[in-house]
């Protein structure tokens, strides 16, 4: 049984549905990457999992339980975490407070988790008293990921983690994601840098018009001539 499984999910923001039957299945050991053209419903899929929009058809199960249309304050304690693409740090709060907010749903001692996050992002430990709004774009992305990891998730969802970062940081962020995965956290992410992301994806999903077009491992999809021509720019 998969860690998370979407079966024919349909949903949108009230008007015409944006998702017209999306199927996704991921294990905890996987790095899943969703790619596709603009407006294909990539980010919408993540938001649908996280209860941020109304799912009108299909089911979403996580760790064996149905979570369709559950709200974040139920999902986070179950082991699901989400890093939005924009505005993903509390700018007026210090780095450490940002991390604490990620652990809001935990009532146990989370100092070891914080140590783990600091070990993963040493630069954050240096700047832990600084307001997150004063950090650079790459460092903010680290704060955002650190915040999401503080709840000790089984699955971390990232919405275009490399957007707006310089090439050097893009590689660094991807390396971090792989490292998080090797520490036992499943990854499901949306990426514009499709070719680069699929290269390390164990599961790849190509969406178009709110539906699955191709599914396979990342390298398989890169090798598929049709995928390459239509979705990866040749």
């Amino acid at each position: 049984m998969s860690l998370i499984e979407l079966k024919h999910v349909v949903g949108g923001y009230g008007g015409a549905p944006i998702l017209n039957g999306v199927d996704i299945a991921i294990e905890q050991s996987d790095i899943g990457v969703i790619v596709g053209p603009n407006g294909a419903g990539k980010s919408t899929t993540l938001k649908a999992i996280f209860g941020l929009l109304k799912v009108t058809g299909g089911t979403i199960t996580f760790a064996g339980e149905e979570i369709t249309n559950s709200l974040p304050d139920r999902l986070v304690p179950r082991g699901l975490s989400f890093v939005p693409q924009e505005k993903n740090v509390f700018t007026s709060m210090s780095v450490e407070e940002n991390l604490e907010m990620g652990a809001f749903t935990r009532r146990d001692d989370f100092s070891d988790t914080m140590a783990w996050v600091y070990q993963m992002f040493p630069v954050l430990k240096e700047k832990r008293r600084q307001p997150a709004g004063e950090l650079s774009g790459g460092q903010r992305q680290m704060v955002a990921m650190g915040r999401a990891l503080m709840s000790k998730p089984k699955l971390l969802m990232l919405d275009e983690p490399s957007a707006g970062l310089s090439p050097r940081y893009v590689i660094e962020i991807f390396e971090t994601i792989v490292r998080v995965n090797t520490e036992g956290v499943g990854i499901l992410m949306v990426e514009q840098n499709a070719r680069q992301a699929l290269a390390f994806a164990s599961r790849g999903f190509v969406l178009a018009n709110g539906q699955n077009r191709f599914t396979g491992t990342g390298p398989e999809l890169i090798a598929d001539p049709e995928v390459a021509r239509s979705f990866l720019g040749g």
């Binding site: 941020l52 505005k87 007026s92 809001f104 749903t105």
Partner: protein, 334 residues
Amino acid sequence: MTELIFFINQVVISGVVLGSIYALGAIGITLIFGILRFAHFAHGDMMTMGAFIAFLLALAAAALGIVTPVPTGFLVLPIAMVIAAVLALGIDKGFYAPLRARGAKPVTLLIASIGVTLMIQGLIRLFFGAGTYSFFENEPKEIIRIDTSAIGSTRPLVFTEPQLLMVIVTIAAVVALHLFLTRSRLGKAMRAMADNADLAQVSGINTALVVRVTWIIAGALACAAGTMLALDVTLKPDLAFNIVLPIFAAAIVGGLGQAYGAIAGGFLIGFAETLAVFNWTMVLRPLNAVLPEWLQLPSTLALVPTEYKLTVAFVILVVTLLVRPTGIFKGAST
């Protein structure tokens, strides 16, 4: 020296007292704005409501024969604050929460707060009529005089016991609020939600809980502010209605959503008002001995006549909006 002491009595003491009241009111406004994104116009009436709750409790305490060295109004204040907090929660549940659930725009909530204003006003007047009441009908308002002849003044430093207690209560409330916002899990969650509500939700923060805590704090502080105002002046049904403008001015000057800004703004407006209506001739009179005949000071030399005190808060508000709309502490601008 006599003039200096007079200045302290007239300006510093009343400025501090007025500033304390404004600050406590403005904190509520700013917190509600930060969390729920609407201007809560019923806040003045929540203050009046709190003052009447404290008044009823004080009457009950007097009827039970409870006598303490502290004025009864302060003795019952903690209980009154608890009741006011519960009522604030009830008001939210009854009138604002259903609109939020429907996804109403902030302006709709603003209009709803007018409805709440009217209902609170109506109920208070229904039960208490239009008359004025005083907390000090059965006990004296103690006046503290400190002899200042040692520094060469003929006047003593004068303030009342309630004024002293008010400053203490305000300091206690501000320190407690500061500790809550910076140390506690819920307080940090409140700051997080004011900073970025969407991300707070995504982080799993129980936003409904934060909203409840906001109303509890706002309601309790409004009760304290209203009771203090009633203790300083008198208690009447439209006690705090005219205070809506200064407390909004304080919250905006401090930057909407910024609790510390609201405190600073409250004291700024409080001092500005007191300074503006202060009769400077009283302090500058010694100059008359040096000044030539034609430049003698008039008997009243105030920047603004007392009747137009409200103009001060308004001018500060407008200047802030024009020069720095996000306030001196850079609050939420959207």
